[in-house]
Symmetry: C2
Subunit: 419 residues, 2 copies
């Protein structure tokens, strides 16, 4: 048996970052940057006003106040976007809006609230400090600064940063495309009725959705029967349209384990046992034309666990993330359970609110007393997966465990937070 | 000035959950369920095997072991999906695969590893406990059980749960569609060059991406100049194609604040000041045909903060979430800063790893010494927003703050976690 870490390494050896493609800024959400974004110019581009008000020479307003107002001539009106370049002489002011360039000669801004709002002349009731309400050129970015490094995930704020330095197109790693299929003669698509011995296919929905949630495209092939010829045909088609093929089922010790039947012994494909519960039997390798294959076990919880432990890191590497492993969070255990000897255990957990108020995450098993790999409906309650190392036999209240958050949307707010 | 809570209440009063639509299971990822999903049948549907092996009568194997093997006649071969209904008489066994129904008369399963793998007869070297390796009907779901409640967010595991009980279509709340436009004569789309006084539009990219990241559709109208007629036309078009219109800019004290110029005084539209920094000036109400409008301030950090404090809760309500407020996490502060008097402060922060090993989240300001609302490039470094209540003046190391995680993808793993 190989360890989880050894298997992860073998999985990651099958994939590399997809090539860069040029994309419109707007279409880059969720992608990983393939090239540094640097600033040509400073940001702000020039000293500019932080307020709606009047650009002034501070020296003109020494001693100004509510009881000693000062009147200045307004020599310019500077809305944001104004290309005007007036020069303020002594005794003059420019009406200026937030973001407009500070005119030459001005060295402070008085907010409109400290004025009579005048257009030709203005009465000001504040003596501003030198530089008051002026945003300095380059405060945010200096020319040549690295704004976004290659390898950066592009969320809303990252796209805004790129936009702010004028990048209308970005080089990003192509979005991975993954073909997903489940195997098993017993599988019937949801919506159709069952006869005795049949069950509904849930894995192809589970895995396709997990691929999409990870920001990749999924081609859900659906369920393939336990027939090697049918599977061979499905795999041939799948690998032509995908960067990675993921199957579930048919990798264990059964007499009809079709993935193993078809592929065991093929050069470049291995069926291995990983010291992990659930998810021990795993297949991996390359299909005929070189497309990587990850063959997961078919129990739904095993497939889900295998996705998060192995497929998601592979997707992250394909997508260009520098760190293939998704982030884990440390959490304190609230209940107790035994784990299998010499195998890592991956337990569906919920994050609980104990009102302890110490900022720590706390977890409890999602299903009391059960980690059965067939409990697919119960899995919907889980917020994450606690990963218990192979050396640990007993998990006890207060123990620290690593948690992969799998359903961030379901995680409740921290203890005691006013909403 | 109104409080953040008062403004949020006013914003949420403008929206209600969008009507349910029927959708294919596969297309429901990220939507919110509008109707309970209940199980018609038990899951597992029948007692079934948890292993590949042999279904037996445990009584036949009393005393069996490696040195005292027992030979049974194999009367049936039961792959998963088999509809056969054999009956096991005394002294007989059925070869059975994981997930296949346990035949009548059998009361235990012996794993294939404890056998010679025989097809006509099998030699077994284990005396199984009564019920060994049998999954009981209904262990996961009993008939009539609530599998997913209306209001549930549909992630991969939730779709799998629905699939497992045969739900091929779901009633979900329609996905919100949001029109996003920024205002300002100074704005030029990224990719085009600037003249003096101009800047690149980043807000329309920021807000459209934030809407999409929240699982909604965005129509990015782009930048509209400071011309009331042009804005009126853009808003008329926008409200026809959206459930919500979000603008940025033009809501403050400036002489050219176009959103305010056009809409202030219109029945049903208010411009208010919220006791929050940044993001004080806010507009809200209904456009001509009733579409809700949220008019955010134009500084990029103000727009981002306003999105997370007000727009995202509105999107969550439209999408059907029971709790409009996104989850907040409690975190411990690592640095120190002053906050404005009598206004809540929303500070971009990074989550830091201090190797404290106590499971607590820790935060630090994303930009040392600055919370300037114009620092759009610097905002790309932030992992979240710390929300400091209005009553707090000083934030000190060790203080607890609430954090809205805005870029979960950027949050590093917890301290000391083996990867």
């Amino acid at each position: 048996m190989r360890t989880v870490a050894e298997h992860l390494e073998a999985v990651l050896a099958l994939v590399e970052p997809l090539p860069p493609v040029g994309t419109e800024l707007e279409d880059a959400l969720g992608a990983v940057l393939a090239q540094d974004v640097r600033a040509d110019d400073a940001l702000p581009h020039w000293d500019c006003s932080a307020m709606d008000g009047y650009a002034v020479r501070a020296g003109d307003l020494l001693g100004a106040g509510p009881s000693s107002p000062v009147r200045l001539r307004v020599v310019a009106d500077l809305p944001a976007g104004s290309g005007a370049e007036p020069v303020l002489a002594l005794g003059s002011a420019a009406r200026i809006m937030t973001g407009a360039p500070i005119p030459a000669g001005a060295d402070a801004v008085v907010p409109v609230e400290q004025s009579d709002g005048g257009v030709e002349h203005v009465v000001l009731t504040q003596a501003p400090a030198l530089g008051a309400h002026i945003r300095r050129a380059g405060e945010d970015v200096r020319p040549g600064d690295l704004v976004l490094a290659a390898g950066t995930w592009l969320g809303p704020a990252q796209l805004a940063a790129a936009a702010s330095v004028g990048a209308g197109r970005l080089q990003v790693h192509r979005r991975p495309r993954v073909a997903v299929l489940s195997t098993g003669a017993e599988l019937v698509p949801p919506g159709r009725s069952l006869t005795y011995g049949q069950i509904h296919d849930s894995n192809s929905y589970l895995l396709a959705a997990a691929v999409r949630e990870a920001g990749c495209d999924a081609v859900r092939v659906g369920a393939v029967p336990d027939d090697p010829a049918a599977l061979a045909e499905a795999l041939d088609a799948a690998e032509q349209q995908a960067d990675l093929v993921v199957t579930s089922g048919g990798v264990s010790m059964g007499a009809y384990d079709v993935v193993k039947q078809l592929l065991a012994g093929r050069t470049g494909i291995d069926f291995v046992r990983v010291a992990m519960q659930p998810g021990k039997p795993q297949g991996l390798g390359r299909l005929r034309s070189g497309t990587p294959l990850l063959a997961l076990p078919g129990n739904p919880v095993s497939a889900f666990v295998s996705f998060h432990m192995f497929v998601r890191p592979a997707l992250r590497r394909l997508a260009g993330h520098r760190d293939a492993a998704p982030a884990v969070r440390e959490a304190l255990v609230e209940d107790a359970w035994r784990t299998p000897e010499s195998r890592a255990q991956v337990m569906p957990v919920v994050l609980v609110d104990t009102a302890a108020g110490d900022g720590a995450l706390r977890v409890r098993r999602a299903v009391e007393g059960g980690s059965g790999s067939h409990l697919v409906a119960s899995l919907a309650r889980a917020h994450g997966l606690a990963v218990v190392p192979a050396a640990v036999q007993d998990v006890r209240p207060g123990d620290r465990v690593e948690v992969l958050i799998t359903a961030p949307e379901l995680v409740p707010s921290s203890a005691g937070s006013p909403r």
